[in-house]
Subunit: 215 residues, 2 copies
């Protein structure tokens, strides 16, 4: 019997996962945790085989940190990351932190059960969608416009510059603040326009806000 801990702060989601698992003869939901602290506590007190971890729980950096903590502290416990994010760089970061599986939150019952069994069997689990995303992750594709609606994959610097632009700073002001040249900032601005597929700053900010890319 594979013992599963669900770490997610949304009741409904936890219920959904549990419902999907409830038909399995081999898997049982042992713990449901709504805070990072309760995850660490339950792990210390209970034998858990697989953790289903919302990687945005409560923020992405927290989820990554928790993933790393679990993997290091409980090597026999496997982590499957759950998230709405499907960009290649996040997938890679999560795997680097020790996750053995990666599922989008629109996963199906079949996939969920299969993922749990696969990671329990000491293998990694990525479904076709995720595999395709990783396979498509080439320099050329990454640079291409995703069109509207898809959240582009921003580098840390790009994300930083985007936020500074949205605060109304000029390129020169950003250069001063980041201790780089104006040319370096312009480069990132160009990359942002290209990645969002927009012609200018106005539409960049509007689009980025709609996609929640701005803090």
């Amino acid at each position: 019997m594979i013992r599963v801990l669900i770490a997610d702060d949304h009741n409904v989601f936890v219920e959904g996962i549990e419902s999907l698992i409830s038909g399995s003869a081999e898997i049982v939901v042992t713990e449901r945790c709504h805070t990072v602290q309760s995850v660490t506590e339950r792990l210390a007190q209970t034998g858990i085989d697989v953790v289903l971890l919302d990687i945005s729980f409560p923020q992405i950096e927290d989820g990554l940190g928790l993933c790393e903590f679990i993997t290091r502290t409980y090597p026999s416990t496997k982590v499957i990351a759950l998230t709405m994010h499907d960009d290649a760089s996040l997938i890679k970061r999560v795997v680097k932190k020790g996750a053995k599986g990666y599922l989008l939150k629109n996963t199906t019952k079949t996939e969920l059960l299969q993922a749990i069994q696969t990671v329990y069997g000491e293998k990694q689990y990525f479904n076709e969608t995720i595999m395709q995303i990783l396979l498509d992750d080439t320099p050329k594709n990454r640079r291409a416009s995703h069109g509207l609606g898809a959240k582009p994959n921003l580098t840390p610097r790009e994300s930083e510059v985007l936020n500074l632009i949205s605060q109304g700073l000029t390129t020169q002001q950003m250069a001063n603040q980041l201790f780089v040249s104006v040319k370096a900032v312009e480069f990132h601005r160009s990359s942002l326009l290209m990645k969002f597929g927009v012609p200018n700053t106005a539409l960049l900010i509007k689009t980025a806000m709609e996609l929640h890319c701005i803090d």
Copy 2:
């Protein structure tokens, strides 16, 4: 028996909702829809009493549009908005579009069932958290919490130009579209910057979006 349609593109979430509802003797999940199109189709073919609508499904503007469509086309069908967003302005926009209830995605079984029964009984449902948010939404709090100035009083032309700016048009393109000179457009641009108290277009768009001045 209250017939419920769940409109959300996340399987797990739909399963979760269904699981919460499954114990009720008075409520049954009749339809589960993962696209806007299937919502409209199922509504046309099936009697539905309550729609549980993810308002970010697939984007907020889509959700709002769908909410309005349902309310107008099927007046006896009540919409409960589901979302992770808890800001007062969105709540008000959703209610204006016809929703009778507003639930956060971390709702409990008790609340969910109560909300469904309440709206089915022709009343609005807001839980304590939402009520508090609405009660706290005073001009003073709104100014303080956002750190923004009040929504400025825009002339019709200014509003028009603001929207065109946010669509990425250049000043020349706007002049062509509005049958005025470039200078006229520049004048309105200057007025917008002054009224919003911002130094450039980037911050203008960000601020205007936060204040919901952009369509």
